[in-house]
């Protein structure tokens, strides 16, 4: 297996071919940094227009999906301090939140002055889901390019439980702290038709139901929530519309009382399950689940190739791994 000479994509990455010069098709098709900067500027204007139009009309302007990791911490501070939004931070606790992350969350929300809620699904339900997702892909093949089936399961539950909460609390915007490379920039400001959103739920809810039955129904908005199209929340992930530099972000959030938890890796600074999920993904599909995301960061100039490569070995702590396996009954 070889790696792209420009980014860090491996030659066995799905949907990617290499040319004679050892450069991957994703790099060859890349629109270029200049054009990308123009697209980002256009979406930043859209984002600021949306903020202007929705601000101060509801008890909260925005629900922030706040994992407590480095990126969502930075995004939260940006939305609060730069835009002065009234924010409800929402943390989905998947049972593998490091102890230090709880302290980080408390420090950050207190320092920034935002309201915060935890949503912690019953662990017996999550345990069934994670065990199934460690063994096989529950979702469409394409999701493997972006994340391990374990992460896709969690993200799906985060997204829809956040949507449910936002609808119930009449919050017009839902934000994610995705770094550049995690989602297309054209999805950074997204108004989705409620009927479409309901249909798209089919990509995630039925596979989860197959594993955990009706237990997961409470994590998704009931059908009636999709019938009203007025005030249906919009989705934003603003981080990639701003300069993004991992080292600077880590230094900045230190000032908010955020410290790196031990036993985790840089790709997911908020989840103890991540290393095990990465390992299972690599064993099965032979490429790192973060390869696509890291390759995009390198390609788009947010990271040097050397920094990108440093993200790809699975950094695992034997102690964490065995505690995680024990909790999952493996």
């Amino acid at each position: 297996m070889k790696l792209c000479k420009t980014c860090v994509l491996p030659s066995n990455f799905p949907h990617v071919v290499f040319d004679n010069e050892g450069v991957c098709s994703a790099c060859r098709q890349f629109v270029g940094k200049k054009r990308l900067a123009r697209i980002k500027a256009e979406y930043k204007r859209k984002f600021e227009r949306v903020i202007k139009d929705t601000r101060s009309r509801h008890s909260y302007d925005l629900l922030m999906c706040y994992s407590g990791g480095k990126d969502s911490t930075y995004a939260l501070s940006l939305l609060k301090r730069k835009y002065g939004l009234k924010i409800l931070a929402f943390t989905f606790d998947n049972g593998f939140v490091p102890d230090r992350t709880y302290i980080n969350i408390r420090n950050v929300v207190e320092k920034l002055g935002v309201d915060h809620i935890f949503f912690k699904p019953r662990f017996e339900v999550l345990k069934k889901i994670f065990n199934a997702a460690l063994k096989r892909n529950l979702y469409s093949a394409k999701t493997l390019d972006r994340a391990s089936p374990v992460c896709t399961s969690c993200m799906g539950m985060v997204k829809y439980s956040a949507l449910k909460t936002a609808i119930e609390k009449d919050i017009p915007l839902i934000a994610f702290g995705w770094s550049p490379g995690q989602a297309p920039v054209t999805s950074s400001v997204l108004k989705i038709d409620p009927k479409m959103m309901k249909s798209m739920q089919a990509a995630i809810k039925p596979p989860l139901s197959k594993v955990a039955g009706k237990e997961i129904d409470g994590y998704f908005p009931p059908d009636s929530y999709y019938r009203k199209s007025a005030n249906f929340p919009m989705f934003v992930h603003p981080l990639e519309l701003f300069p993004y530099n991992e080292k600077k972000i880590l230094a900045f959030i230190k000032g908010l009382g955020w410290k790196m938890p031990s036993g985790i890796d840089l790709n997911a600074t908020n989840c103890l399950l991540n290393s095990l999920a990465d390992e299972a993904h690599i064993a099965k599909y032979k490429f790192h689940p973060y390869a696509g995301e890291i390759a995009a960061l390198v390609r788009e100039g947010y990271m040097t190739r050397r920094e990108g490569l440093a993200h790809l070995p699975v950094k695992k702590s034997a102690k964490v791994l065995s505690a995680v396996k024990k909790k999952l009954g493996i």
Binding site: P14, H15, Y139, S140, A141, K142, T143, L144, R146, K159, A183, P184, T186, S187, L190, K191, I192, D193, K195, M196, M197, S199, M200, A202, A203, I204, P206, P207
Partner: protein, 89 residues
């Protein structure tokens, strides 16, 4: 519009969806009236990728309000929608 012109819109989209979303599935195939939303083939990021792909290959501008199941749910509906857009250009 290269492939879209050579293959016809529907076949080009079929190729895109099979290559990108059904890869690895045994006997990957999709009929013109299969709902790729209800079948869970395409998720929210997938819809955005599909939208970008159509805009690029067919040279049309898709408005977010048009991303609705009536237009995006099956190959037949997508083809009708794209043709409507092409003719109104």
């Amino acid at each position: 519009m290269n492939d879209a012109k050579k293959l016809g819109i529907k076949d080009e989209l079929k190729k895109f969806i099979i290559n990108n979303y059904l890869l690895g599935a045994k006997n990957a195939k999709i009929s013109d009236d299969d709902s790729f939303l209800e079948e869970g083939i395409i998720d929210s990021i997938g819809v955005i990728e599909l939208t970008n792909h159509i805009q690029r290959t067919c040279g049309i501008k898709i408005h977010v309000a048009e991303i609705v199941p009536q237009n995006f749910d099956t190959l037949n509906n997508l083809e009708k929608y794209i043709n409507r857009k092409l003719h109104s250009k």
